[in-house]
Subunit: 251 residues, 2 copies
DNA sequence: CAGTGGTCTAGACCACCAT
DNA sequence: TGGTGGTCTAGACCACTGG
């Protein structure tokens, strides 16, 4: 049925990888159909004269990629792809732009130290009125076009002046690391749609009430305390998110 | 330094899992800091009297979860968390609603067989004018409120009447599977913001030009042919996407 | 060169499932 | 009960890094 010369034991390419790709190909070509069982580990092990541990490692790759599903006592089966769980990756949104060959430029509009106010009290859940925050707002532009407007707050615990370096790493986690003694270890982003306010519209050069992306980001330290918060407005006509699901080829 | 009684070899919980959680805890508590090396595999192996393969399996878990980074010849190091790559999961969007305890209801507005037109020619990249498509449009609502409006096209190759079952699985992959001989194996979704058209606004009961989510979905068969396409409009004031990154606890 | 992680083996025992 | 996948071992050899 199958030739056992398909795995090159002398290759620099690991055997588990060769085997995984071999099985993946059979599934993609429909030689193994969704719902069907793939050969047992012992069978594959014997057929290719490969240790069972190595076979398991190969199958583990397929399990991870979601093409196959192992069931103890029964067998390993080709997955019926579920296509309703799409994942959108948001590489700081601006990578989209940079990948288009255009390079995004960040222009600082304002940066200052502020004290606690109502918004900050809500977002950071602190009550000590002496806490200092670094406030900054900036515009992201590319090819002479303004694309996004961002407002950021971070805890400010280092007595260090605000340098040009702020511009070099304008990401929120970067600001936290640079201007506080807190280590940012986790983040939450909430994406919504909104209508551009007068201010936002004038900064971005769009018509008021135009649809825009509104992204709120919160940065946490290891104790899950909020150490940074930002609100970003992205032009709706210049940004989109694309996501894939199922047996998409990744090579 | 560390007690070697922390791994219970007789437990039903696998040793590699216990070890992975033990290391994860040390990292979360800051006993192992970002940038630092974790003990070598041989060291851990000796300290707990565990086979190195088992230690590797434990570390592999941490590598997968992104907390640690292995470098051949050098060591394994605690990751400096990158927090700008947030991932939004979109469980067919309506799961958001269902998790709130409210149950979403889909109401079919129209369903019919259509022939090739300009839109379909572009989306499906077919030229044979005899190809038939199943067209349907529907409204998703919850708690007496209309939330989303969806328009779907799928290839129609089964000579089967359109049944009530269409309503039972109104997802695009489901429609493809039910009404064509094609197997949907991969999907692409593009998320944008838009202003509601007059039609969309009247169907959803919102003001025209309100900001809305616009999601286009394309379904592919194993040969990467388009077998389904849909366009969905979601009320901007009722939906949002939330994503996490970094060392978020998942237990 | 010594030390690290990466691959692989040939067994062993177990938990689970079907019959 | 026999067959499946899940865990674990005690080695082995390799590729890569650094001094």
């Amino acid at each position: 049925m199958m030739n056992n010369r398909l795995i090159d034991k002398t290759s620099v390419i690991p055997m588990y990888y060769q085997l995984a790709k071999l099985l993946e190909g059979q599934i993609r070509r429909g030689e193994l159909k969704p719902g069907e069982a793939i050969p047992t580990e012992t069978e594959i092990s014997a057929r290719f004269a490969i240790s069972r541990m190595t076979v398991r490692r190969a199958i583990a790759e397929l399990v991870t990629s979601g093409m196959v599903n192992a069931q103890q006592g029964k067998g390993t089966f080709v997955t019926m792809p579920k296509l309703d769980n799409i994942v959108f990756e948001l590489n700081d949104f601006n990578h989209n732009i940079q990948q288009s060959g255009i390079l995004a430029k960040t222009t600082l509009l304002e940066a200052k130290i502020v004290r606690l106010n109502e918004l900050l009290q809500e977002k950071f859940a602190v009550s000590n009125a002496n806490v200092k925050f670094l406030f900054s707002r900036m515009v992201v532009s590319a090819a002479e076009e303004r694309l996004a407007y961002e407002t950021k707050y971070t805890l400010y615990s280092k007595s260090k002046p605000i340098l040009e370096s702020d511009l070099q790493d304008p990401t929120l986690p970067g600001l936290v690391a640079a201007h506080s003694n807190f280590l940012p270890v986790s983040a939450k982003k909430v994406l919504q749609v909104a209508a551009a306010t007068e201010l936002e519209a004038s900064i971005l050069g769009i018509v008021p009430n135009s649809p825009v992306f509104l992204i709120e980001q919160t940065i946490y330290d290891p104790e899950h305390r909020t150490v940074g918060w930002s609100k970003s407005i992205y032009r709706g006509d210049r940004y989109k998110l694309t996501g894939y699901d199922g047996w998409y080829k990744k090579d």
